[in-house]
């Protein structure tokens, strides 16, 4: 992955406009958060292979804090804190944000074919 270039990612997001696409959306602070720090809370959510069709998409932000919004007929897909991206060999758009130690905190991925289950 490489640091997000806002113009390039905007173009990539628009590549999937008005198509049925599969989304992986995830946020996590890990299963060990409250194990290593009793004051911490374990929080996480993921949805894998949600099939959506968005008609508008935008990436906003700067530095290492970008937000992405995908507008659906009946709602939104939203991710905050992505800072790196990659278009992989399957032409999927992968975006993620990591902490200082390289641990994933948030991921938003878009593909025209389902992600491996």
């Amino acid at each position: 992955m490489e640091p997000i270039d806002i113009n390039k990612v905007q173009t990539e997001l628009e590549r999937f406009l008005n198509k049925d696409v599969y989304v992986h959306l995830e946020t996590t602070n890990g299963a060990y958060a409250s194990h290593f720090d009793e004051k911490a809370y374990n929080v996480g959510a993921f949805i894998r292979n949600a099939k959506v069709n968005y008609n508008h998409a935008k990436i906003v932000g700067s530095g290492n804090a970008f937000r992405v919004g995908l507008k659906l007929d009946l709602g939104w897909v939203y991710a905050e804190g992505v800072s790196q991206y990659e278009v992989d060999e399957k032409n999927r758009l992968l975006m993620a944000g990591h902490d200082r130690e390289g641990r994933l905190m948030v991921a938003l991925e878009i593909s025209e074919t389902p992600f491996k289950n």
Binding site: T28, A31, F46, D88, E101, G102, R103, A107, K116
Partner: protein, 218 residues
């Protein structure tokens, strides 16, 4: 001497941090060891530091690391094919039957797994519970011994002191090599164990010089 030891843990690297000294000790005695690894750690947070994996490449990377680690330990590997973070939602009975089928083929004298309630990660507890059930389902005349590993901060308060405490310092190099075979995970995991220290080997020796288990009584 044990006849055959089977290790049942959900994630690639659980064997390294939890039991690689014990495994090395058994292998040194010539005891065959088989690792039944539940998932590929697909949902792990550690992507290497600096990051070299992403959510989609992580499973294959961790699979390779797992194979490398099992080569370091010289153990047979059997991947069970479940998905990281989902074990607690699967039918415990189905997983137990799956494990029982494998155990009946291997006929181990000892099974090692996580404690069903004191192993912190939901996957650890869930697979531990299924493994305990699998061993329970085996006819008493054939039933292997069972050791369970507890890793919660307060497990000694809840369970008392573990009865199996192995000093694994003679096998520490193998343990370290096994941990380091999990290249995408080693630094992140060791780093979160001890934020004061930077040297991975120092952290590991301080934290991982003994391996402890509780004998499970049915």
């Amino acid at each position: 001497m044990e006849k055959h030891v089977v290790l049942i843990y959900p994630h690639p690297d659980d064997e390294a941090f939890g039991a690689s000294g014990t495994i090395a000790k058994f292998r040194n005695e010539g005891v065959p060891v088989t690792y039944l690894c539940g998932t590929l750690g697909e949902m792990g947070r550690n992507m290497g530091n600096p990051t070299f994996a992403n959510r989609e490449t992580l499973p294959e990377i961790r699979k390779k690391e797992l194979i490398d680690a099992c080569n370091v330990l010289d153990v047979d590997l059997h991947m069970l094919g479940y998905r990281d973070k989902t074990l607690e939602f699967e039918s415990r009975q189905e997983i137990a039957e799956h494990l029982k089928g494998i155990l009946e083929e291997i006929k181990p004298s000892l099974v090692i797994t996580h404690h069903p309630e004191q192993a912190v990660h939901p996957d650890h507890n869930a697979l531990g519970a299924a493994a305990v059930e699998a061993v329970r389902l085996i006819d008493e005349s054939e039933r292997p011994k069972l050791w369970v590993q507890a890793i919660s901060q307060n497990h000694v308060e809840v369970l008392g002191d573990p009865d199996i405490v192995l000093d694994i310092t003679p096998f520490f190099k193998t343990k370290m090599d096994t941990i380091l075979a999990h290249r995408s995970q080693a630094q992140g995991v060791l780093g979160s164990m001890d934020k004061e220290k930077v040297d991975m080997e120092e952290i590991a020796k301080h934290r991982l010089g003994t391996e402890r288990f509780y004998t499970w009584n049915f």
